[in-house]
């Protein structure tokens, strides 16, 4: 019987439950120096002087400034499309460009001294004009990089603007949607430590999603060969896209080399809120046109993306937004364009969904507005426009591999009891009380492994007949130690508990890319499977040699973890016996295989139904139900998949009705602690009604797509649409996200 598809409890749980997680901050590192960063309290200013004498008068305190750091500013990689001349110094030298930018480094014997010394570093700032709003930034009146001459860091225009795009449409509606800035908020703040060994090699312990990628990045920044660096990512307390190599990590490694001593740094939450990149920040306008039956004929999406003070990955993410702009609908004409601009804010980067939620949020609002204008139910307009043959190439060039969009919608509606909900809504509307019901739909498709990456897997049979699986993928909560072991167990027939998954150490795993873009299982999992298959082939050869048979006649019986001659089970060897004998003969090393698997993107999809109660007198919004159908192909471990969807949905709901990282007009963060930022708690959210649906992809041997971000992508528009659905009788057609009490109340007042 196959182990795949079973709800297997996680192997990694016990250590976390016992408080034995190996987070970087828990590492004991003898005689390590502590690093404390001095960060700018102003958004845009010229640094005219730094007086560190009082700090350096403290015992064993040294202060370094930008002038001391001989590392070249970081230039975004060419695929990000960032305009030449934009680069980020590790420590600001002459100009600071956002609140939170590092202006000096305090090195001390302990953290308490570092915190005290930081207060004694006096920096003189000569204020420069500040630009926070993207529309203001587009005017290029205040420039972040005057030598570049514009704040626009990247543009993507798919075609000439077609003035006749909506010709022939009976109905045309337009709207705006700001996918507001969010703080990723992994519960573990970042932490980094580094030590130079006697051989000159550096070991860096990083709280990261991508240890191998970080090693490459560190090597490039510091002018070293990758082999001179070992990156260890121990247990990592969440990442959500934001935890890849950041300036602080580079500085910690650089400092360990500069001082020849172990060095460590752990950020505070307040520091993390302005030091870790933010997500989203796209300001979109859309127009959609259809015939009088609601058959969509044309769609235009224009986005201005807030890349923050040092445009990098955040400047690239609109590419994914445009690519996915048509969503699940067959739209014959699409015009999608974007401009990314620099502002005096924390740089933006990937955050759960990374460019795709924005696409879904826009098209799903557009379709709801169109349904209202045409006068048909939101479910019906979706049905009339679904893509229903696969593979399907969209107007923007995405090739959807497989899907069943109507099936997902039907399942979600049935599970939610859509007709009954509409009846209850009508009843409440007729009664006219203050608590009105809103029902919101979202049907989505997203892209995982978006840029078609490669992942590494290696399987090795151990002396005792167990197995080690080394993966270049990484788990910062995703459960690879269980899921990936299941994949190897399925192929090898070796029980799960005898398979150890090794990850997160560049010395222990030959290569890898890490975990982001929901790509782990579809490339890392498939690589693990293929490496397992290779090991079985090698094992058959050895067994054949021992039994003087042909390898073609040897079969693996997974139920008994045994290889034997086909048709005569008595003639064979169990893995333990094979390993023992191969060890004795010096052939154990043959039972080891590596595989690299490169795959094209895949396209998970689904349908969500949200039910909200809106108090139309106070504006208070309560999400009372959320039904989520998320289809990511075959599930290896449905238990883990459930968890991915639950967490994803919570984040999507967070964007819809709770969270916003806000700045005032001076570029001062207004939500830089957990006391100010509305991170939803258990008391703010309902239980989730996840409904499983499985449509395997033909793209890989496991049939798997990615599921890490689906819940987030599907949830936000469903909840946003639900709030607007509740408000429809009051003439409200737009509420900014988060659609919280304040924004809903304002919208209601404006509509009066």
């Amino acid at each position: 019987m196959s182990i795949l598809g079973n709800r297997v409890l996680r192997k990694e749980d016990p250590r976390f439950l016992r408080g034995e997680g190996s987070y970087v901050e828990n590492l004991s590192l003898e005689s390590a120096l502590d690093v404390t960063f001095v960060r700018s309290p102003v958004a845009h200013a010229r640094i005219t002087g730094i007086d560190a004498s009082a700090a350096e008068a403290m015992p064993n305190v040294q202060v370094l400034t930008g002038a001391d750091v001989d590392v070249e500013p970081i230039t975004p990689p060419p695929p990000f499309g960032v305009r030449a001349g934009v680069s980020r110094p590790l420590v600001a030298k002459d100009v600071v460009r956002f609140v939170g930018e590092i202006v000096a480094i305090v090195v001390s014997q302990d953290r308490v001294t570092g915190a005290d010394a930081r207060e004694l570093v006096f920096v003189d700032y000569d204020p420069l004009p500040v630009v926070v709003d993207v529309q203001d930034a587009l005017k290029d009146e205040v420039l972040l990089f005057p030598e570049v001459g514009t704040n626009v860091s990247g543009t993507e225009e798919l075609q000439e603007r077609d003035e006749a795009l909506f010709d022939g449409c009976d109905v045309v509606v337009s709207g705006k949607l700001e996918s507001q800035r969010m703080a990723p908020c992994p519960l573990e703040p970042r932490s980094a430590a580094a030590e130079v060994g006697p051989d000159g090699r550096v070991t860096a312990w990083l709280s990261t999603q991508a240890p191998h990628g970080d090693r490459q990045g560190l090597a490039a920044r510091l002018g070293l060969e990758p082999e001179q660096i070992r990156v260890i990512a121990p247990d990592v307390g969440g990442g959500f896209g934001a935890k890849t190599l950041n300036v602080e990590d580079v500085l910690v490694v650089w400092l360990s080399r500069r001082f020849g001593r172990p060095v460590r740094w752990t950020e505070s939450r307040s520091e993390s809120m302005v030091g870790l990149p933010h997500g989203r920040g796209q300001h979109m306008s859309f127009t959609i046109g259809s015939d009088r039956d609601g058959k969509i004929l044309a769609y235009r999406l224009e986005s201005v993306a807030d890349a923050g003070a040092y445009p990098a990955l955040g400047s690239f993410l609109p590419h994914l937004t445009l690519l996915m702009s048509s969503g699940v609908y067959a739209i014959p004409r699409i015009e999608a364009s974007s401009r990314s601009v620099a502002t005096n804010t924390v740089p933006t980067s990937a955050f759960r969904g990374a460019g795709r939620p924005e696409a879904t949020q826009a098209i799903e609002r557009a379709v709801d507005l169109l349904a209202a204008e045409v006068g048909i139910d939101p479910a019906e307009i979706r049905r009339r426009n679904f893509i229903d043959t696969f593979p399907h190439e969209t107007e923007t060039g995405a090739v959807y591999d497989s899907g069943d969009y109507e099936g997902a919608l039907d399942l979600a509606l049935r599970s939610a009891g859509y007709e009954e909900l509409r009846a209850e809504q009508r009843r409440r509307r007729e009664e006219g009380g203050s608590k009105q019901l809103g029902i919101g739909l979202s049907t989505y498709v997203e892209i995982t492994n978006g840029v078609g990456e490669t992942e590494f897997g290696e399987v090795e049979i151990t002396e005792d007949g167990g197995a080690i699986l080394r993966t270049g993928s990484f788990s910062h909560g995703q459960g690879h130690e269980t899921t990936f072991a299941m994949i190897a167990s399925e192929q090898l027939g070796i029980p799960l508990e005898r398979i150890t998954v090794v990850k997160g150490d560049t010395d222990a795993v030959a290569s890898g890319t890490g975990t982001y873009a929901s790509k782990s299982t579809q490339i890392g999992g498939v690589a693990a499977r293929l490496a397992s298959d290779d090991v079985v082939v090698r094992a058959k050869q050895i067994v054949a040699d021992y039994l003087e048979a042909s390898p073609a006649d040897i079969v693996l019986d997974p139920a008994f973890a045994r290889l034997h001659v086909a048709g005569s089970p008595a003639q064979g060897l169990a893995w333990e016996e094979l390993a023992e004998r191969a060890s004795a003969d010096g052939r154990l090393a043959e039972l080891r295989a590596q595989h690299e698997w490169k795959a094209d993107p895949s396209f998970p999809f689904g349908a969500h139904v949200a039910v909200v109660e809106v108090d139309v007198e106070t504006g208070v919004v309560e999400l009372i139900r959320h039904v989520a159908v998320d289809d990511a192909g075959t599930l290896i471990n449905p238990l883990v998949a459930d968890g991915q969807v639950h967490g994803g949905v919570a984040t999507g709901v967070g964007q819809a009705i709770y969270e916003r990282f806000a700045y005032d007009e001076n570029g001062t963060p207004m939500t830089s602690t957990f006391a100010d930022y509305s991170f939803p708690s258990a008391a703010d959210l309902p239980s989730w009604e996840r409904v499983e649906m499985v449509t395997p992809t033909p793209y890989n041997a496991l049939g798997v797509k990615g599921i890490g971000e689906s819940g987030t992508i599907g949830a936000t528009p469903a909840v946003h649409n639900a709030v607007l659905d509740a408000l429809a009788p009051y003439g409200v057609t737009h509420v900014d996200m988060p659609a919280n009490g304040e924004n809903v109340w304002r919208a209601l007042q404006e509509a009066k």
């Binding site: 409890l9 996680r10 990694e12 749980d13 016990p14 250590r15 976390f16 439950l17 016992r18 408080g19 034995e20 997680g21 987070y23 901050e25 828990n26 990723p184 908020c185 992994p186 519960l187 573990e188 703040p189 247990d235 990592v236 307390g237 969440g238 959500f240 505070s268 939450r269 307040s270 910062h476 909560g477 995703q478 459960g479 238990l639 883990v640 459930d642 968890g643 639950h646 967490g647 994803g648 949905v649 919570a650 984040t651 602690t673 957990f674 006391a675 991170f679 708690s681 258990a682 008391a683 959210l685 239980s687 989730w688 819940g711």
Partner: protein, 153 residues
């Protein structure tokens, strides 16, 4: 200042600066690294421990305030190899992912079920309002507390 307290059943004494927070005393002096720090505003609850059996955020308690009292951290919950029923319920219900918030949630749940042995979903959600998790969406944490309550934890 001199403090003497019981931590996970063991008597501990130390000389401390008055400003030392309980969480840093536990982590740095006693080496109990299971108590995590997730924020600096007493918002996230990752550092939750039991003080005389009641959950507190150890970032909001001075170590000297624990003088003469009894502290239980996540390391003190299991009986040898045997996980506490709430730890077991978290495992069985997949109520943890990255694990960073987990010790705090487990101890807050222990405290909740001591006070309210059979809480409703709403009571559980209200009781855990002071603990934040970014991975699980709370769904399975609620299921775990319910399962532990059913098992009489």
């Amino acid at each position: 200042m001199r403090v003497a307290l019981t931590v996970n059943g063991e008597r501990r004494e130390a000389d401390l600066e008055p400003r030392e927070l309980l969480v840093y005393f536990l982590r740095n002096h006693l080496g109990l690294k299971g108590t995590n720090v997730g924020c600096d505003t007493s918002s996230c609850g990752a550092c939750t421990v039991l003080l005389d059996g009641v959950s507190v955020k150890s970032c909001t308690v001075l170590a000297v305030q624990a003088d003469g009292r009894e502290v239980t951290t996540i390391e003190g919950l299991a009986e040898g190899d045997e996980l506490h029923p709430i730890q077991r319920a978290f495992h069985e219900q997949h109520a943890l992912q990255c694990g960073y918030c987990t010790p705090g949630f487990v101890l807050a749940s222990v405290s909740l079920l001591r006070e309210t042995p059979d809480p409703s979903e709403e009571e559980i959600r209200a009781a855990l309002d002071g603990n934040l998790c970014r991975c699980t969406g709370y769904h399975n944490i609620i299921r775990a507390v319910q399962a532990a309550a059913r098992a009489g934890a």
